[in-house]
């Protein structure tokens, strides 16, 4: 908002400049877009970030290797388990620590539950953005069931901090298996309902088909990852290509689409939810007995060097880059967040489209702003 006072809202070419955000319901947070319009056609978009830049990277430099993980649950709060797992994996890589099999399987189950609830929230919010309030209530009904599992497992609904270097913080609740199975049965029954209410809806198809095209080459060049890139035909599922935790023990498909438009992105996420259910069902009966945490020293010190770990969050590739100088806290941490690169492709996706389509495009990229700003 600042810097706009006194600026002409009409350019010399007759383009009209409007500001969307930072307080706007469809930006899913505090994203600010400066949009150049010709009538209703978007000519140019300039994302303006930093309205929730919380200096997590600077803060982590003064925290120990056990403590810095908490901040990542607040970074992408819809995928806290996956973020924590990424950090834990990076520290384990530095320590060359072998995680017990039980912890690996539980981590994978929780990561997939996270993906499921994140996609459900995305589905509800997409409905909300496109003018339908009902999907929001339908999505939250199942999401709450997953939140209850999280709460029973680690005591928190949203910011879990359950993954620690060496494994998981505590063993799972005795109810865990039964509860997850019950929820999976519940969710599987609801997919048809989701499809009936949204996927086959003619309004939705009209709003999404052929809108916000992203080519495979652009996706690669802009570093777009996750379902957004897979909808453009770019194979980038790290669970397949660089398997971590227990992903090498399960069978699942990498969902690819070639449409490249909003509808393809929508369909990829809808199909991914089914894959997540399948992964959880394969693992839930096969949680091995044993330790849930490997032994680590009280004060973790990573050897001198650089460690990089890539994981697949619901939004794409999260990279954790730790530079260690041998001390008890990281020398430098860089989070390569998926939303950051995905957002950089928004200007080319929305260019030439209508301003109303911009909302649909933002909804299907699935932006989480604190993840972008860090």
């Amino acid at each position: 908002m600042r810097g706009l006072i006194g600026e002409d809202i009409l350019t010399e070419e007759g383009e009209f400049i409007i500001n969307m955000g930072p307080q706007h319901p469809s930006t899913h947070g505090v994203l600010h877009l400066k949009i150049w319009l010709d009538g209703e056609t978007v000519k140019r978009i300039q994302p303006n970030l930093g309205y929730i830049h919380r200096s997590i990277e600077k803060m982590s430099e003064s925290l120990s290797y056990r403590n810095f993980i908490f901040a990542t649950s607040r970074m992408d709060y819809l995928a806290a388990h996956v973020n924590n797992e990424a950090c834990a994996l990076t520290v384990e890589k530095g320590l060359q620590l072998e995680v017990p099999q039980r912890a690996k399987v539980i981590r994978t189950i929780l990561s997939e539950l996270t993906r499921l609830q994140s996609h459900q929230l995305w589905w509800g919010c997409t409905g909300l953005d496109l003018g339908g309030v009902t999907p929001f209530f339908y999505a939250f009904r199942e999401r709450e069931a997953i939140m209850e599992i999280f709460e029973e497992t680690c005591g928190a609904r949203l910011t879990q901090n359950y993954m620690v270097p060496g494994g998981i913080m505590y063993d799972v609740h005795p109810n865990f298996q039964k509860r997850v199975k019950d929820v999976m049965i519940q969710i599987k029954g609801k997919f048809e309902e989701y499809d009936n209410i949204m996927t086959g809806n003619v309004i939705l198809e009209n709003r999404l088909k052929g809108v916000g095209y992203l080519s495979k080459e652009d996706a690669l060049s802009y570093g777009v990852t996750g379902p957004t890139a897979r909808a453009s035909g770019l194979s980038c599922d790290l669970r397949k290509s660089n398997p971590y935790s227990a992903y090498d023990q399960v069978q699942f498909d990498e969902i690819l689409d070639t449409g490249g438009d909003c509808y393809a992105r929508y369909m990829v996420r809808m199909r991914e939810m089914r894959q997540s259910v399948s992964i959880i069902e394969q693992l839930i009966d096969n949680i091995p007995e044993g330790d849930f945490q490997a032994k680590t020293k009280n004060v973790i010190k990573l050897p001198k060097g650089e460690f990089y770990q890539r994981v697949e969050t619901p939004r794409g590739e999260l990279g954790v880059f730790i530079v260690s100088d041998g001390a008890a806290s990281p020398y430098r941490i860089k989070y390569r967040s998926p939303g950051f690169s995905n957002l950089s492709a928004l200007p080319i996706m929305a260019k030439g489209g209508k301003i109303g389509d911009l909302v649909a495009i933002m909804a299907t990229i699935d932006l989480v702003i604190p993840d972008i700003d860090r």
Partner: protein, 151 residues
């Protein structure tokens, strides 16, 4: 390409580069002036074909800054880390790579904002996260701020 082949091919292009194999990926350390020609070769030459810049960042080593580029080739599935040393901290500058990988545009703006590295020929070099009137570059080790309360 295997690590050994990558090393040989890069030595053939840039004999002055040094290698570091202690980590997970092969690291190539070069000076900031050598960056752009090398990057162009890595992207365009079909034997390298590094088409995905998956991370771009900077490290402040107190006496110098180090730009770090993580590269991946989707076709060959090999990974490479390029490190460009910027010796002059006070007037840090390096060529932009955003004409090669578009994703670098945002990442370089982030580095400019938080480390104060100027990217030559960058199309839109402004602060990304902080407001335009912010003083200093917070991720530098010598950054001080009266609002920062240390533990």
């Amino acid at each position: 390409m295997s690590t050994e082949e990558l090393k040989n091919s890069i030595t053939a292009i840039l004999p002055s580069s040094t290698f570091d194999e202690t980590g997970e990926f092969l690291n190539v350390v070069i000076t900031s002036e050598e960056l752009l020609p090398l990057m162009n070769t890595l992207r365009t030459k079909s034997e390298f074909d590094f088409d995905f810049l998956f991370c771009l960042t900077c490290i402040d080593w107190k006496d110098h800054l180090m730009m770090v580029y993580h590269l991946l080739s989707k076709t060959h599935q090999h990974t490479l880390v390029i490190k460009a040393k910027i010796a002059d901290r006070n007037n840090a500058q390096i060529e932009t790579v955003c004409n090669i990988w578009r994703t670098a545009e945002f990442h370089e703006r982030e580095v400019f904002d938080l480390f104060g590295v100027k990217f030559i020929n960058h199309p839109d070099l402004r602060r990304l996260f902080l407001s335009d009137d912010w003083v200093g570059h917070p991720l530098r080790k010598d950054y001080t701020d009266e609002n920062m309360i240390s533990l």
